[in-house]
């Protein structure tokens, strides 16, 4: 990435050089806020559901708890259209390859939620078959403990993820802007 040396080339300084341009800083912050706000209310989940936690996932997605309030209601069964990979249940080593492929197929920006004790740490499965936590394979943004977690915990997890999205940077042109 080359730094523009001739300031007359760019009317908006894409890269703040030397002393930081306050207009640029302001714009970046506002753009991140706007994108963060938009993205935090459109978390389309990809449910990677493998085990008993699925029951709780169904409970939390149905009307009494209504995750649609957070824009996270519509499960997308294509990783290309999903923003949030929800790993719900135990992941075995044999299945880890599938999970990794699904994660790699998702478009940026993407987040990963480890739903339940098994996805978080392997739970009580510490043996030849189970992966002791999906964060060994894919980077995880939010962990929800519980075997299975209560719907309130899941909703709290989604809200914390929303905060995380709202607070993070959202580069759209290059890594700086």
């Amino acid at each position: 990435m080359s730094t523009p040396t001739n300031a007359s080339l760019a009317t908006i300084p894409i890269h703040a050089v030397g002393e930081k341009s306050s207009a640029f800083e302001y714009l970046t912050t506002k753009k991140d806020e706007l994108l963060g706000w938009a993205r935090k209310f459109s978390i389309f989940p990809y449910p990677f559901v493998t085990a008993c936690c699925a029951m709780e996932f169904m409970a939390v997605s149905s009307s009494p708890y209504d995750t649609d309030r957070f824009g996270a209601a519509l499960p997308r069964f294509s990783p290309r259209q999903a923003d949030l990979l929800m790993v719900v249940g135990t992941i075995s080593h044999k299945q880890a390859t599938v999970l990794k492929t699904v994660y790699d197929q998702m478009c940026e920006p993407k987040w990963v939620m480890a739903f339940g004790a098994c996805a978080t740490s392997g739970g009580f499965y510490q043996n030849y078959a189970a992966v002791a936590g999906v964060d060994r394979i894919v980077p995880v943004d939010i962990y929800i403990p519980g075997c299975p977690p209560r719907p309130e915990m899941v909703i709290d997890g989604i809200m914390q993820l929303q905060d995380l999205i709202a607070r993070s940077r959202h580069p759209i042109v290059n890594k700086d802007f």
Binding site: H93, K94, T97, Q126, N127, Y128, A132, R136, I137
Partner: protein
């Protein structure tokens, strides 16, 4: 009725068995591994045990012979079960396959093979089923380390 058939079976097969007893309403026959095929053949053709329920193994480490292979059969005619056990040594953990008699045995023998390393002579399809190609060892053996992992995806940290 139920007891009647088990009595007849144990009367007919006790001479070929090491022991025969009724436990919890199930006839338990302990056999030498060589006696398996003829005994099962008679059970199926003479006594109507037409349903193969399961084959599994027990690792009796440190006893010798180390493994005990256990089969269960059911008769849909008489509504009774029968259990067959045979001890095999670790160095020669081979028993006859029952796939020629019971088609469903093939799958269960595959599972028993990958978990315990029992070889079923005559079953040419002993590929891993629940485990994966490249898995080393037999995880339900007592000497498989309980925390040994063989990941397929490299860990990121």
């Amino acid at each position: 009725m139920a007891a009647g058939i088990l009595d007849r079976v144990s009367e007919a097969l006790a001479p070929t068995a090491i022991s025969a007893a009724i436990a919890h309403g199930i006839l338990v026959l302990t056999l030498a591994p060589e006696a398996l095929t003829p005994v099962v053949g008679r059970l199926q053709s003479e006594f109507g045990f037409d349903l193969f329920l399961d084959v599994t193994a027990i690792d009796w480490l440190p006893q010798t012979p180390r493994f005990e292979v256990v089969w269960h059969f059911y008769s849909t005619e008489h509504h009774v079960r029968i259990r067959i056990k045979a001890r095999v040594a670790e160095s020669d953990a081979v028993v006859d396959s029952l796939r020629p008699r019971y088609g469903s045995a093939g799958i269960m023998e595959r599972e028993c093979h990958e978990m315990y390393g029992i070889v079923f002579r005559g079953n040419d399809d002993l590929r891993p089923m629940l485990l994966y190609e490249g898995f080393v060892g037999h995880p339900l053996r007592k000497d498989y380390p309980k925390d040994r992992e063989q990941p397929l995806v490299p860990y990121i940290k």
